[in-house]
């Protein structure tokens, strides 16, 4: 067989096999700590999807810093669904990319947030510094590890939780700013992402307390066998709401809207909620949250929408250039 005929034959077989092999693929662009959750959820969804008489679907997942991931999608990464750390990042998909409508967050229940988390303290075994609450973090000599809120979505939740605590306890914004300035004086390292901070605290043994996503803290405990660390729940924290959305422009182009919507809906199903809880996210479904009540301590939680007027207000006020976070460092 000549090379040319061989090439033609190969091309022909590729064309015939093409439609069969190109079973639907779905790309879920997510942030760092959801890796384990979605590898298990994808398999569960596929089973559910096929049980309904559909062809199997290939689900790819991509993880990274939440802001970085949003930028990749804006710049052309063909994500079918995004599952990011904060609504502010998904808002940019509308503002900069025109990929989704402005009211995206109203399309799914609970502000498009199927699971939540919160910010807790991870301390070394025996809690040698006796850290119980936010006030203990501003004591001289206590080293606090948290990532840089300018580059990390998780760190913004940390910052706002501390702010909310101080504002409620000391009664004014000025006092709250003083409090967080004192807190960040105790931060020796500002890593760029949540995983970086976990490495600094767990592996490099720096600091007395790590401000962490609850699910990251549980994961660190699980991987380290619970011998080295303890979780401390502060008296007040923030309800961290990592939302999800179908990327309209991409699914319409690829013809994957139906499966993408089913995928996100399934996050709200009993099985999806149980999987979220298994991976240490707090399920939204009350009944299922009840099953895991022992795992998640009851906390007083503020929310971004009620207490901070949403990310559209909080982001420029606290974290953009010249915002509160910059001010506390310029003042030093």
């Amino acid at each position: 067989m000549s090379i040319r005929r061989f090439a033609l034959a190969a091309l022909a077989s590729a064309l015939i096999a093409g439609p069969l092999a190109a079973a639907e693929t779905l790309l879920n662009v997510s942030y760092d700590p959801t890796r384990e959750l979605y590898s298990e959820f994808n398999a569960a969804f596929n089973k559910h999807w096929q049980a309904q008489g559909h062809d199997p679907v290939t689900i790819q997942q991509s993880h990274g810093g939440s802001g970085k991931q949003a930028r990749a999608v804006i710049d052309g990464l063909r994500a079918d669904v995004v599952t990011l750390a904060l609504a502010g990042d998904i808002d940019e998909l509308h503002r900069l990319g025109k990929l989704i409508p402005e009211n995206w967050q109203e399309r799914l229940p609970q502000s498009s947030t199927p699971y939540t988390s919160t910010i807790v303290f991870l301390v070394r075994k025996g809690n040698p510094q006796g850290i119980k609450d936010w006030d203990d973090l501003v004591k001289p000599g206590v080293n606090v590890i948290t990532p840089n809120p300018k580059t990390s979505g998780g760190a913004r939740w940390n910052f706002l939780a501390a702010w909310a605590y101080a504002q409620q306890k000391y009664g004014s914004e000025a006092k709250a700013q003083e409090f967080v300035a004192k807190l960040y004086k105790n931060v020796p390292v500002l890593d760029t992402g949540a995983r970086g901070s976990t490495i600094t605290f767990v592996n490099n043994q720096i600091g007395d307390v790590l401000l962490a996503w609850e699910n990251e803290a549980f994961l660190a405990l699980k991987e380290q066998g619970g011998d080295n660390f303890e979780i401390v729940a502060p008296s007040l924290s923030i309800l961290a709401e990592p939302p999800v959305a179908v990327v309209d422009k991409n699914v319409d182009k690829k013809g994957t809207r139906k499966v993408a919507e089913a995928y996100l809906d399934y996050l709200y199903s009993d099985e999806g909620q149980r999987l979220a809880a298994k991976h240490f996210y707090r399920p939204r479904n009350e009944a299922i949250a009840g099953e895991f009540a022992k795992q998640f301590p009851a906390l007083k939680l503020v929310t971004i929408d009620r207490d901070f007027d949403g990310w559209k207000t909080a982001q420029p006020k606290f974290f953009d250039d010249g915002g509160v976070f910059d001010q506390i460092y310029q003042a030093q």
């Binding site: 930028r71 940019e92 840089n148 580059t151 500002l190 970086g196 490099n204 953009d320 460092y329």
Partner: protein
């Protein structure tokens, strides 16, 4: 006439055309796009961004630490090249292969490994702490990471030149009464210097732009240990593309001027 001047191998048009296309696609167009993007800013805005105290602090830190790392590698790298070229010893091939490892290793891995070693509780860092020296999370740590990442440049540029200088030249100088230091100063240095400067400027340029290895060891404290590439990432995370390109342009212009100066210096040295 033409037979004298035209080269033995033809193809000037082809090679030049290829060079231009290649450079355009890989270098000129991306960098040009950056300038175009930054051109959306007025001069006043551009100036406000690049003269912010945080940007200036980062600028100083980035260029100073890259310069320090290039100098360190200029000295140690020359020694390494010397040992590898002039002496035969067991394990030489192994060391030879190890020199290039910093290029092969993902920079993030290098950063994490160096941080683990040099952090206050690390294997090396604990001794440094006893001496009252802090390495990780200080400019020293940043310089250390850059020194690691740019190690191969000077060694690899000096090595072939050194190998080409016959030992006899040194011996002849010695026979004529030159002391070892004089041999080095008057015989070796003039031939090594152009290659050394090339290695130095490569290491310097690479160090200025390095991100992956530095962010882990830097600590990233505003005004203290923030490098310029990190500020670019910070701007991008605020979806401030123009601000990010403004800092990119600043880095590019400063680097270009410095590299141009080094090039001029190299010419002077070559003439002398």
């Amino acid at each position: 006439m033409s037979s004298c001047t035209s080269p033995v191998i033809p193809g000037f048009g082809l090679t030049l055309g290829y060079t231009l296309v290649y450079l355009s696609l890989l270098v000129l167009i991306p960098l040009g796009a950056m300038f175009v993007h930054a051109a959306q800013l007025t001069w006043a805005d551009f100036w406000a961004i690049i003269s912010a105290p945080r940007v200036l602090a980062a600028l100083k830190l980035s260029f100073a630490s890259a310069f320090a790392a290039a100098i360190i590698n200029g000295i140690i790298g020359t020694l390494l090249a010397w040992a590898l070229v002039r002496y035969r010893f067991p394990g030489r091939k192994l060391i030879e292969a190890m020199i290039d490892l910093p290029f092969a290793l993902p920079t993030a891995v290098a950063g994490i490994a160096l941080t683990a070693l040099y952090a206050p509780s690390g294997l090396v860092g604990q001794f440094a702490t006893d001496l009252g020296l802090k390495i990780a999370y200080t400019p020293i740590g940043i310089t250390l990471a850059l020194t690691f990442v740019t190690l191969p440049f000077v060694v690899r540029t000096i090595q072939p030149v050194l190998a080409d200088i016959p030992r006899e030249v040194e011996e002849a100088a010695a026979c004529l009464g030159a002391k070892p230091l004089q041999v080095f100063r008057h015989v070796l240095l003039p031939s090594l210097l152009p290659a050394w400067l090339t290695g130095f400027s490569l290491a310097f340029a690479r160090g200025v732009g390095e991100y992956g290895s530095v962010i882990f060891i830097a600590g990233n404290m505003p005004m203290k240990t923030e490098i310029l590439p990190l500020l670019i990432m910070v701007k991008l995370d605020q979806y401030d593309y123009t601000g990010a390109t403004a800092i990119g342009v600043l880095m590019l212009v400063v680097s270009f001027i410095l590299l141009l100066l080094i090039n001029l210096l190299q010419r002077q040295v070559g003439k002398a």
